[in-house]
Symmetry: C2
């Protein structure tokens, strides 16, 4: 099947206030647009209640981008059609011919909203029977080899067979700015954690440290942020305080953790507290070295 559409889900947002939800959604849409633009992917974007639809001729490339945009919980390359049962049936048959034979099992999952002269159950039964006749495959609702999803929303229907997991979290920019002091690979992971929760980072690097790891990281996660270099000669704390104020940062993030190798981490932290005006966050503080390494491999 040749896909032209991706359905983007961003989870059940449990925000009580409608205003916040709207703001959150708008930021997510903008982040998606920017990420696709960065990779030169032509697309048309449409927003509906709880869903974003992205139309493009480069679906594979778009999927690769979207899976790394924070806030997205899952994506499905899909076929769009109208809500006539014959049209839905035609497409599902194409899918099942590709994917099924007499040795395989399948399940049909139907969701429906709007007014139609059939129920979800009707669709499932009719199409299920057709697939059985066509392919001799068997129905297995609990543990099928192949799942076929049909979502009927008013006069449009969406058919897909995959739900690719995203990283979830919150869209970058829904929380405040943080100043990420990059003095090690661990500090990149520490900022990943807060960016994943919606904070927008400003990166502070020492002239000595090579920027290519950081730039690859930003490119991979579609983080479009300032990188500021500081000098080793002047007082580092003073520079941090000044840059944080200038850039409206609400906190500093550090990659420090309590590890067996380094002693007196709590002393260092007390020192930071005295010297740095803003609060310092340590998302890795209680992580073991081995878990940090594993996570670093995961985030690329």
């Amino acid at each position: 099947m040749k896909y032209k559409l991706i359905i983007v889900r961003y989870g059940e947002i449990a925000l009580k206030a409608k205003v916040t939800r709207k703001r959150f959604e708008n930021i997510l849409v903008n982040n998606i647009k920017n990420a696709l633009k960065t990779k030169n992917l032509q697309n048309k974007l449409r927003k509906e209640w709880g869903r974003i639809f992205i139309y493009s001729d480069q679906i594979e490339n778009c999927l690769n981008v979207l899976k790394n945009v924070f806030g997205i919980t899952s994506i499905s390359p899909s076929i769009e059609t109208d809500s006539k049962i014959e049209e839905i049936s035609k497409i599902t048959k194409l899918f099942s011919k590709e994917k099924l034979d007499r040795k395989k099992t399948f399940a049909i999952r139907v969701k429906r909203t709007g007014n139609h002269d059939f129920s979800s159950q009707d669709v499932a039964v009719k199409i299920g029977n057709e697939i059985v006749n066509e392919t001799k495959a068997n129905v297995n609702l609990t543990n099928p080899d192949f799942e076929l999803f049909i979502e009927i929303r008013n006069d449009k229907s969406y058919i897909f067979i995959e739900k690719i997991k995203g990283y979830g979290g919150m869209p970058i920019g829904t929380q405040g700015n943080i100043l990420a002091f990059i003095d090690s690979i661990n500090s990149i992971l520490a900022s990943w954690y807060l960016v994943h929760r919606g904070c927008k980072p400003i990166f502070l690097v020492n002239k000595k440290i090579k920027n290519d790891v950081l730039e690859r990281f930003m490119d991979y996660w579609f983080i479009n942020s300032k990188i500021i270099e500081i000098s080793n000669k002047d007082n580092i704390y003073e520079q941090i305080n000044k840059i944080a104020t200038l850039n409206n940062c609400e906190a500093i993030v550090s990659g420090l953790n309590i590890s067996r190798q380094s002693e007196n981490v709590l002393d260092k932290i007390k020192d930071f507290k005295r010297q740095i005006a803003l609060p310092v966050l340590y998302p890795l503080i209680a992580m073991e070295d081995i878990d940090i390494k594993r996570k670093l491999n995961l985030i690329g």
Copy 2:
């Protein structure tokens, strides 16, 4: 088999300084003694290079205690014997009769240190053959149904079939004191993370909050710490600062995280920074609510 001994492993300690390693081990031994004493379990404890041996008539109960002592990576109920190959053979036969038949597969893992007139390989071959003759089971070194471990250390040998995982981390008290402000179940989890890394907590509770959850938590993890009640009437920050100083705390721990439900977490954190003299640590800061719930179930 009736066990009378537990082998306790505390991982490959990568500490460079011998002094630190010795301090770390002594604290672990004391924590183990206290935990067993709390549950009224009679025992005799012996320390060797990299291992702790615990002898008791109540092995099952001891295992239950030890699996929750931080710093321990794994435990094995074991049979101790001398290092004559006939003795080792006698015990392994008892094990294999209990556990094996012609439909099962097994592997023998031998470790040896000291001077003996046989090699590890000799032991594995001889005992492997005997088990095959006795039970008709088959050898499978990569994915056996049953593993038999033989550790020969000078004139003593240890035979066991189980390695029960501990929580690892660092023994309570190897890092500094922290003041854990318990205002929610999340704050208990936050302090768990730091205690797991070796910090010793002092608990601060509000009169309104029930202590039984906290007490069950302390009992479960063998945390023997002060609980201090504060009043709602006076300035909370002033009380925190005072109690932290009196108890030699190096940091405060809070269960705050950036979640979709609560807004302006960074504002709260800035407020803490201004009002509290010590650094505040937020181990859950970048965790999602669902992960926090999952971990809370895990820690009991």
